[in-house]
Amino acid sequence: MKRALLGAAVAGAVLLPFLPLALWAFSQRWFYPQLLPEQWGLRAWRYVLGTAGPQMTEALVQSVLVAAAVAVLSVAGGIPAGRLLGLYHFRGKDLLSIVLMLPIIVPPLCVAMGLHLWLLRLEMTATFAGVVLVHLSACLPYAVFVMWGVFSNYNLDFEDQARSLGASALDVVGRVMLPLIFPGIVVAALFAFLLSWSQYLSTLIIGGGKIITLPILLFALMGSGDRPVAAAVSIVFVIPALAALAVSARYLGSRRVLGVW
């Protein structure tokens, strides 16, 4: 009974903000102070998927590509760093870990502003790679953090056993380490993907309006004051993130990554 109440409270608090989004996205006419739309309709969706469809598709693809690239690079940097931090202690470890975690604390705002000048020199502003790099500076530390937690619970004996049975270094990595840390990899990739997915300001500063991701497009559409359209775009923006969560959900509760939550 108590448990059902708690579940209802959690579900209510979490899902409440989606209610006005859903109502607005399917409303045709909805004047104040009507509680529900006087007329339901698909105008917003016809606009978002029809008139603005090509733009939306392009932004969606751009966002997915940027976030996927950031996730892959973050995990690639996070695995070796996490392995070293989680398994070993060595001189200077505390200082190194503070440096690595600094971007989690320091806001990305001034970093993006500074990087703009540098990427301008390298002619990388308004490019895909430039946006990926600025996102990476904010997202990679989270992947390091996750993999650090994963390797803190990692048992090196498995690798020693494989090696004593004649496994090559490549075998040890590919057939022992990667399968063991796979749940952690999924969680780290999810973190990096979601963080990159919702970046707005750094994309705007470095992308200079040339790299149009979904948040950039949504901001532009918000400015028009068209509530049904803003609601529909918001829903389009949320669905891939929710899908990413759903896909990785079975790894989130996994004992091996519990420590990082």
Binding site: G7, L35, L136
Partner: protein
């Protein structure tokens, strides 16, 4: 605070025999030093007035001086501090209650935990839009109150979005950050087990005593770390205050970006200088919090 929660003490790590293995850190360190550090350094240089595009190349403290002597800047700073602190405290309080309830009643329920994770994935922009639709004078809340006859026609609905107290901003942040803090705390609670609480009960410790002297010390490190991360984020983030904030005083990140993107290129170093002040305040807040905790521990406080 820079360690994953609940483990990774040196007791379980081995000494590093091959110093060359430190190279494993190279990719991550390169990204942080070059991109993050480089960005900050170049920001600093520009904040000091190096702006080749506008033909300025002499270094000067003038921009920092102009930012710090602007009375509007201090109004923004105070407003930002208030809102980030208040939102963090509200979020921390709700999170502790939620973590305790979840641990007691739904520790094993995958469904409740899945629902709880949803806000983590929702972009800040989307929750900002939802808060506008919910709390604005013509939002769902006002419509609902009107419908129930609690808001007679003509009487004004209080301003909860773009308002002087930042209610809308706080609502959006609390919704977004509570799951993050709760899950950090919950992980520790679930790992700690119930034995200590049973001992407390046998020793006739009351509910509050058990919370204060057993639960709180267990969850404090991760609660503090999560709170600091959330505070730092709120202090430096742009989207939510931009959409839900009032025009005066603005939150600092909005102030900084407005100056940075001003058509007048000469305002750009001021925006960057303001951005660096934000970074400095956040760094100072984190150091202060760490110092306070350590001082309290030295005086024997159980934290």
């Amino acid at each position: 605070m820079t360690r994953p929660v609940g483990h990774s003490t040196t007791a379980r790590t081995r000494p590093l025999m091959r110093p060359a293995a430190v190279w494993l850190l190279a990719p991550a360190l390169a990204v942080v030093v070059l991109l993050f550090g480089g960005g900050l350094a170049l920001g600093l240089v520009q904040g000091l007035g190096y702006l080749p595009a506008a033909g300025m190349s002499a270094l000067t403290l003038e921009h920092f001086h102009r930012v710090l002597s602007d009375p509007d800047f201090f109004k923004s700073l105070a407003f930002t501090l208030y809102l980030a602190l208040a939102s963090t405290l509200v979020a921390v309080a709700i999170s502790v209650a939620a973590a305790l309830a979840l641990n007691r009643l739904a520790g094993r329920s995958r469904l409740i935990q899945f629902i709880f994770q949803i806000p983590l994935t929702v972009p800040h922009l989307v929750i900002a839009v939802a808060v506008v639709f919910m709390l604005a004078p013509s939002g769902l809340l006002a419509r609902g109150l009107h419908h129930l006859g609690l808001l007679p026609a003509g009487s004004g609905f209080p301003l909860l979005v773009n308002d002087p107290w930042g209610v809308g901003i706080m609502a959006a942040y609390v919704w977004k950050e509570v799951p993050f803090i709760t899950l950090m705390v919950l992980a520790v609670l679930q790992a700690s087990g119930a034995e200590l609480l049973d001992v407390g009960r046998t020793l006739k410790a009351g509910r509050w005593q058990r919370f204060r002297h057993i639960t709180l010390p267990i969850i404090f490190p991760s609660l503090g770390a999560a709170g600091l991360i959330v505070f730092a984020y709120m202090f430096g983030a742009f989207e939510i205050p931009y959409l839900l904030g009032q025009t005066y005083p603005m939150m600092l990140p909005v102030w900084a970006y407005k100056a940075y993107s001003d058509v007048d290129l000469l305002a750009r170093p001021e925006g960057i200088a303001a951005g660096l002040v934000i970074a400095a305040v956040v760094a100072a807040a984190v150091a202060l919090a760490q110092g306070l905790v350590q001082a309290a521990r030295r005086r024997g406080a159980v934290l």
